[in-house]
Symmetry: C2
Amino acid sequence: MTVVTANNRAYRVPAHAVVVITVDGGDPSYFYDGLERGIMPRLQRMLDEGGVFSVGASEVPSLTNPNNISIVTGVPPAIHGIPGNYCRTPEDGLVLLNDAKYLRAPSIHARFEEAGVPTLMVTTKDKLRQLLGNGGVPSVSVERAAGAGIPEYGIESVEELVGEPAPGVYDPLASHYAMRIGLSALRAAPQIRLLYVSLTDRVQHAHAPGEDVSDLFFTEFDALLGEYLDAGCTMAVTADHGMNAKHDENGEPRVHYLKDVLEAAGIPVEGVVLPITDPYVKHHGALGSFAWLHLSAEHREPARRVLSALPGVEEIWDREQAATVYELPRDRIGDLAVTASADTALGSAAADHDLTQLHGPLRSHGGRHEQPVPLILSGSVDGPLADPFEAGILRSRDIHDLVLNHVGA
Amino acid sequence: MTVVTANNRAYRVPAHAVVVITVDGGDPSYFYDGLERGIMPRLQRMLDEGGVFSVGASEVPSLTNPNNISIVTGVPPAIHGIPGNYCRTPEDGLVLLNDAKYLRAPSIHARFEEAGVPTLMVTTKDKLRQLLGNGGVPSVSVERAAGAGIPEYGIESVEELVGEPAPGVYDPLASHYAMRIGLSALRAAPQIRLLYVSLTDRVQHAHAPGEDVSDLFFTEFDALLGEYLDAGCTMAVTADHGMNAKHDENGEPRVHYLKDVLEAAGIPVEGVVLPITDPYVKHHGALGSFAWLHLSAEHREPARRVLSALPGVEEIWDREQAATVYELPRDRIGDLAVTASADTALGSAAADHDLTQLHGPLRSHGGRHEQPVPLILSGSVDGPLADPFEAGILRSRDIHDLVLNHVGA
Ligand SMILES: [Zn+2]
Ligand SMILES: [Zn+2]
């Protein structure tokens, strides 16, 4: 049996296609609800026939980029270098972490490619494709599907391959197009052994479990999951982070604007960095439940005291402790790290957030309360990971170890 | 090279004595302060001569029993079964978790013994010895040293071995007597390959870094560390948890009494379980920064709302999420888990806590803010754990893996 090592973990090279799907914002509650109401019959059948469903922990801040990179590298942000969608770096100042130059660890897929094992990355948003395609991994996004091919597999046109034009990245079915690209690519290039498909959380940011659009999303997801299973793939499904409503009974966002709060208390703030920030702010107005504060040394304790008195502010850590507790790279985080409760978001200055762009009452993520994510496999877990899987204590970054090394055939 | 496996991790059997010392309540701040002021010359020399100092994360709740067991088993409470010093179990109701029958995983030491490799456990308090001695591991405590021997090594009298009578368990130097027992036992039984010495946190509960009694504790600790190094031992030092002041400027404990708070809000409480509770409550009056609440289902959301409005209350989790986020056994925790900030403690009903027993202003632990602990080794770390060690993201439960498998000779 061939084994490939990435970041000090060994992964078996499978003899057939293994597929990991990350449902962006795929909070466990969507799956519990969908299974209970019977709108996910293929997932239900998979579980009835030996598949398994548990939960695990994603990285905090519970955001798209850190978690997608943790999932494909098998290591935490302290090692792979991506602690947010956005951060302040010593070298470049404030940056969107979409550039592969910020990566400090290779993906499992890059190591497979080096070993001559065919892989493919499919994303919905192109920003993520740039990170995931690092290390010579064939990659394609829904956002840039028009006119694109996958030359590594002799595919000239992605849209022809799928048989229909790609939807816009804000279409509720954009994620499903990513799943279709993966499925079509596997049919056209059966030599692919490891496929990663990353969806987008536009629907989850706007719709709670049980709403019509959510049901459409998960019904379609389920049908496509069924197609992968019918094609003989071994399947793993997880999420990059959960999702919670962060508004009051009237639908108004429940937000603390930290820069405003601190300045009103006479504390000067160098910067409030909201690591949820991305080029697609319409989803969430850059409001999530995690913030980094950059403050000069003498203002940190006073800031801590002011912020800890705010209802809904949970953890406050200094840089060193945050690095240890959240497993983050010390040089890319703030002097203080602040998290909020499930129903509370953190902003910078009220004037900087354009909430008119929100599609409805604020739903978002970023904090501890969006850390639990589903871990779903098409076969049972055997060996040393069986007990921790059952106990719900594995990490989403263990999903490739699970599906490549520990799932019964 | 012989290797012994415990809980799915392989450990090399060393050719000479390897010693792990857990400084109970040994917050990193004591070590930073002691090194800075030059009161720990042997530790300083060890670091100058190739030893390494980093931090890592202990288990939450950050308490003595869960963490000592994690350190000696290499797995989290979800696997070893001990989520607190005290908890409510389905089988026996409220219990002190001092009985080995509650253990669900063997220690590394028990596996070494099975493989014929000589080991020894030395504790200060006898409650911990009962847990650590599980699986036929030779064990001795300072508390019961009078009249005791270590028959496995032909030692008839521990007090004769050490050459002086054992101090009381509340003596500031009780911990050092544990270190002396280990040192004397290694001299009398040089076949011992793995020694674990667990101290007590009486001093840390009463004295901040830099106070005279703390200085006495760490000066003596340092001298004994030097004796171990002179004896040729490979050394590892960690802590079971940190320690923080939880009182206001006037020295009054800063406490929320959760049962009182909830009942005043009209919410009936089945039980508030404070997992710091132990037979030695004088240290902390059973007040730490972690609580489990047992509540009927309809009262959980109202309780969450009431508690989250309290200043200093940080995380609130339901049972399933707490199990995932803290890696705890679901069946031995509460319906809600509540943590408090570094400077705040959680109690049950004010009438149940006898604060007249406290030895001074409240210093305690149990929450997230006592999660960071030191990881100190007498040699440098090589191989796959080098980067995570340096990044400060390993767990204290990795210390035996570090010292047995990854420390340069
Ligand atoms: Zn996301
Ligand atoms: Zn302790």
